[in-house]
């Protein structure tokens, strides 16, 4: 008989991603995940054998998703500025939905430096860095190591979302006030990085 596909396996994985990436609960237990998914904890072992394997799978898919997003955005042949706007749109949207995704990835990498990580790397980075260099040479953006340009971009997009709990307190933001402020950033970031 073929798999019945009740959707439970996917539900568990999606719930795990929500807890880790969206809620930032990096210490979540298998029970936490099962409860949040509304399923018996044993199912987690039925489908994934162990917590460790679930984590590895979540890790791998997040990594591949990230790489895919990067490649898609970078290889599109929009004019440079449109390309960057698209990049900001794609990654800011992702970061709003899953602010702690990269934090999870890094935490996992640091906590088991021994294990083999996903080998796949984004393929289009080199040519994209070259394209950035071209734009700098043309005087459209401030000259610097193109790597800095990209790191700046991601920093400006993601960090305010990761640090929301701290920044809200520091600057006395309400939840909705913070969301409004984040929404202003799409334009703002664009203005910052083009001279």
């Amino acid at each position: 008989m073929a798999l019945r596909d009740t959707g439970t396996e996917q539900l568990i994985k999606d719930t795990a991603k929500r807890i880790f990436f969206a809620e930032g609960k990096l210490h979540a237990t298998t029970q936490d995940i099962a409860d949040a998914a509304g399923v018996n904890r044993t199912l987690l072992h039925y489908y994934f054998r162990s917590k460790d394997i679930l984590i590895q799978q979540v890790f791998k898919e997040a990594m591949q998703g990230l790489n895919a997003r990067l490649d898609t955005v970078m290889e599109s042949d929009l004019p440079f500025k449109k390309k960057i706007e698209n990049l900001i749109d794609v990654f800011l949207t992702e970061a709003v939905a899953f602010p702690y995704q990269e934090t999870f990835l890094v935490t996992e990498i640091l906590n088991d430096s021994c294990r083999i990580h996903d080998e796949s790397k984004p393929q289009k980075i080199k040519s994209f860095l070259a394209q950035i260099q071209t734009e700098m040479d043309a005087g459209h953006i401030k000259p610097m190591n193109p790597v800095h340009f990209l790191m700046n971009l991601f920093s400006l997009m993601v960090y305010p979302l990761i640090m929301a709990p701290l920044f809200k307190e520091m600057f006395n933001f309400s939840d909705s006030g913070y969301t409004d402020m984040i929404n202003e950033r799409k334009k703002l970031i664009c203005e910052m990085i083009f001279k």
Copy 2:
């Protein structure tokens, strides 16, 4: 008899901070901490009664340190540009030594939303935001909500350090190459935020 102060209590706390803030091992156990400190795990309970209390204390001190750093930097009466340069110097240095400090803070906040957190807030933010506004009015920096200005600043400083494990792979950096690149950022950030 007074406390003998063998330095063990401080050693445990410092080691915990190193593991959490510098090494980013957010899942470290009490045994991990004790081992890294070279002491018997029981001492952790002798001095702090529970892991939870140790974590709370580490959290509190990190929060107060952060607030103290902010206040010190913001209330200094250097001319604005020097003040910002000093801010970058202070916070980038801290971030190089303890890149995962804020990640730890946020993770703790998210994992026990119920517990009471440190009430103390930086006192000097309001006046500093006002000063930023003044500089914008004077045309020294690009006009925007001063909060954005500060968030941009911290994003550009801290995020590349948090994401080092990912960025290193993405951009094919060696460890020392990455350090060199980070060191370039002090100047770069300054150039980015002043027009």
